[in-house]
Symmetry: C2
């Protein structure tokens, strides 16, 4: 029983599409959570936080990190504290602003993230291996149209 | 800045597709949450719980309701308590099992759910209005292949 079981036959095709989109996303996300836990004893929010830091070697302020992760500041602080205690991220002072600091990956954090990112990428490739390259591009392009329409109308 | 900003150019197309899928799903979901709050002063978990009950007039046991909603029993119990206090659901004894009960919509709950479901359906239609019917069917069919592959391999 998944979300799609909700779609009654009389519902318009857009609703059926939405429930399938939600089902696919939740399926892949649940799979990624399980694999991250099993392979690296970590969680998706930790992975996402490290992924943001990996792209900015000098580090990010907490409010900027929170914004990029679109979760509450409280969660970001808690996860950052954990990762810092494990030696994977560090807080460093910001030059010229005595009250501010950046969070950045440590060399150990960077190394661990790279191993996770490589595995994560392969899991995603596997998740979509039922489609041809052309189908993946079609799906990407149609979802791009959904996104575009959404941005134009909201 | 959304999730897709994470996709580096060198990443395979499956990863780009996954990030776009996640972005679209989160966009629509966030929009639905906002609209449910604004129009009906309610939340997506409350809506989802009522949607499950709407399909089963005789009601569901709590463990079955939890299973269908794929959230923790604690959340389901809390939401059910709220909805019961508002007269939208009721707990009724199960015949032949003195310790068990079903949760079901009250007539007021059914009426309110129908108004919400109608609005929700229209919001979804609007969200995908950038696509033609043929494109919606193509997207639905390709995501069906993703789901099928996923079920076959995990």
């Amino acid at each position: 029983m998944d979300l799609e079981a909700r779609a009654h036959a009389e519902h318009p095709e857009a609703l059926r599409l939405w429930l399938r989109l939600l089902t696919c996303t939740q399926m892949v996300e649940r799979d990624l959570r399980n694999r991250l836990r099993e392979a690296f004893d970590t969680t998706l929010p930790r992975f996402d936080l490290m992924a943001q830091l990996e792209r900015v070697p000098e580090g990010l302020r907490m409010n900027e990190l929170s914004r990029r992760l679109m979760v509450t500041g409280g969660n970001v602080t808690g996860i950052t504290d954990q990762l810092e205690a494990e030696g994977l991220v560090e807080r460093v002072p910001v030059e010229g602003d005595r009250r501010a600091f950046h969070v950045r990956l440590t060399p150990a954090g960077r190394q661990q993230f790279q191993a996770m990112a490589q595995a994560h990428e392969q899991w995603i490739v596997d998740a979509f291996a039922g489609l041809t390259s052309a189908e993946i591009r079609t799906l990407h392009q149609l979802l791009g149209r959904v996104k575009q329409h959404f941005l134009e109308t909201t």
